[in-house]
């Protein structure tokens, strides 16, 4: 199956979304990513985030907020933040952003044992994926998603599902 841009995703598609797309939309570095989220919010597309994506996104937005506020330096930001629980307690924007994704209509898909121990392992064996990527793909396959939305080049050779990626990154 081919890999095409986000504007080409057919209406009504069930889309499994990778973390990077959400970060590009949040940072306004891809109009395609923002239009994609807009279409999800309008019900034209069904967007679903695997559990691993929710976790990764929350983690990265938490770091972004701490960086934006000058509360941690850039090198090893997670390590620095982990040693400052008082800083974490004082952050709130990242939670509002994550909750906004729920509010705008994105769905959540928990991982099943079969995702983790069967399909993900098969995808690791077939494509050489690391754990997180293989679990995202495993969830997409279980949900019979029409589209996997990711800018991760690792997915470009995937044959089980159509992969769409943004072609307009400004960074």
């Amino acid at each position: 199956m081919g890999s095409i841009n986000l504007d080409d995703i057919p209406s009504g598609s069930l889309c499994v979304i990778d973390t990077n797309i959400l970060l590009y939309a949040e940072q306004s570095v891809s109009d395609q990513a923002q239009r994609f989220i807009r279409r999800c919010s309008q019900g034209e597309l069904s967007g679903v985030l695997p559990q691993t994506v929710w976790q990764e996104l929350t983690h990265k937005l938490m770091l972004a907020e701490a960086m934006m506020k000058g509360l941690i330096a850039e090198g090893k930001p997670a390590l620095r933040l982990a040693s400052k629980p008082e800083v974490v307690k004082g952050l709130s924007l990242y939670r509002a952003k994550v909750n906004a994704l729920v509010e705008l209509g994105l769905g959540f898909a928990a991982c099943t044992l079969e995702d983790l121990t069967k399909t993900a392992f098969q995808m690791q064996e077939k494509y050489g994926f690391l754990t997180n990527d293989s679990v995202v793909l495993a969830v997409a396959l279980r949900l019979k998603a029409d589209v996997l939305v990711s800018s991760d080049k690792a997915f470009h050779g995937v044959t089980e599902v159509t992969v769409h990626y943004p072609t307009d990154l400004r960074m």
Partner: protein, 80 residues
Amino acid sequence: MKRKVGTLLEEDVLRKAKRRAVDEGRPLSDLIQDALETYLSSKSSDPVKRDAAYHLFCDRPMKLTTAQFKAVLEEDAWDL
């Protein structure tokens, strides 16, 4: 903890669900639970709220330098 429930479904919907469950080799109850979870996780159906949520997420970016954003992108949550 799972509980037994009784409800009514359209015959056609039930037939499709049973067929899908057979295709996927899992119990019908699992399939119905997945479908319900996906539906319920879409919390808001109010277009005004959805629009406001979109603007909060996409129109008010966290102010990061390019280097900071790249650091966030490259951050590995397990790399602690």
